[in-house]
């Protein structure tokens, strides 16, 4: 990632920076979509919204550490390019929301995330982010509920 970014600035090809971001982004997303054990979610002392916010906070911190050297490199060469990290980190947070909103169905999770990315340039998927947030909180509350859920 760092080499690609450095080379990009050296030869004046900003596309290499985007490639580095894409590679880093895919790596981070593969970690973000990793599901923890359902029982761990149930056991957590962080309930519903608190759990979601805690996970988002940890993931934001980890992503910042992961991209830290790249952020520093971009700051050194061209500080105006720092904006590229804003949509990237936003996508990471939406990925977390989609993971918990569709926790039980990995296929649905993948399809919705891909649709979100495809239509993101048209801005309207931003409107569904509050919906994902509410749905994630609801799913987490269900997973953590100690009440016996009627068997399907």
């Amino acid at each position: 990632m760092l080499y690609l970014c450095f080379k990009g600035y050296e030869v004046g090809n900003i596309g290499l920076l985007y490639l580095a971001l894409l590679l880093g982004g895919i790596t981070v997303l593969s970690i973000l979509f990793y599901k923890e054990q359902k029982s761990f979610v149930g056991w957590s002392a962080f309930k519903g919204e608190a759990f979601l916010l805690e996970v988002m906070k940890i993931n934001l911190l980890n992503s910042t550490i992961f991209f830290g050297p790249l952020i520093l490199l971009v700051m050194y060469f061209d500080v105006r390019q720092l904006w590229v990290f804003v949509p990237l980190f936003f996508v990471f947070m939406v990925a977390v929301l989609i993971k918990y909103a569709y926790y039980e169905n990995s296929f649905q999770q993948g399809v919705i995330f891909v649709l979100f990315l495809i239509f993101l340039p048209y801005a309207f998927p931003l409107l569904v982010v509050p919906y994902f947030y509410r749905k994630s909180v609801h799913t987490l509350q269900q997973l953590q509920s100690s009440d016996v859920t009627p068997q399907n």
């Binding site: 054990q37 029982s39 761990f40 149930g42 056991w43 957590s44 002392a45 962080f46 953590q144 100690s146 009440d147 016996v148 859920t149 009627p150 068997q151 399907n152």
Partner: protein
Amino acid sequence: MLHLKIDEKSYGRKSIFSQLTLDLQVPGVYGLVGKNGVGKTTLLECIAGQTSFKGGMHWNQQILDKSEVAWCPTHPFVYEYLNSTEFSRFFAQLMKIEQIKSKVVFDVPERPLIKEFSTGMKKKAYLNALLQKEYTLYLFDEVFNGLDMESVFALQKLILSLGKTKIVMVSSHIIDSLFKICDAIFWLNDGRIERFERNEYRNLELKLLG
């Protein structure tokens, strides 16, 4: 104290329990025995809130929070790319345990990753992490499996001390272990559950022998 009523529990079309009731009124160690596939693990999962069923599970007429149940499955899940100390720390953070017990239950090597551990060692690492705090209810599914003799004795001692003030349920195929530590043993057979007190263990043995 504990009241479990399962109206129906099935996997697909296969019914496991129908109209099953379990009442535990006093703290103690309770055993659970039965043939393979009769539903011992399913029953413990129902109590632990790890699986859904038609019915209800109440603790003093109230719903018990999942975080109040210590649940140790036969093959506990551990994050293999952490070492035992990191896993315990993760568990403490997950459960917001502020006062971490200084003494661990089992001696487990701290440095190697859990993926390098044997089955028994993984179980020990899990139990060390799980038992960092006190729970209302303890459920151990075939907990002695994979443990060495020394650890079995240590765990039996721990279960006995927990059983003085808490309800502890232990399922096992090692019947002698249960005879030693249990105040009563439940026999699960054909979807029905039967209770045997200490003085009735001989009857249970005869039933198990068929």
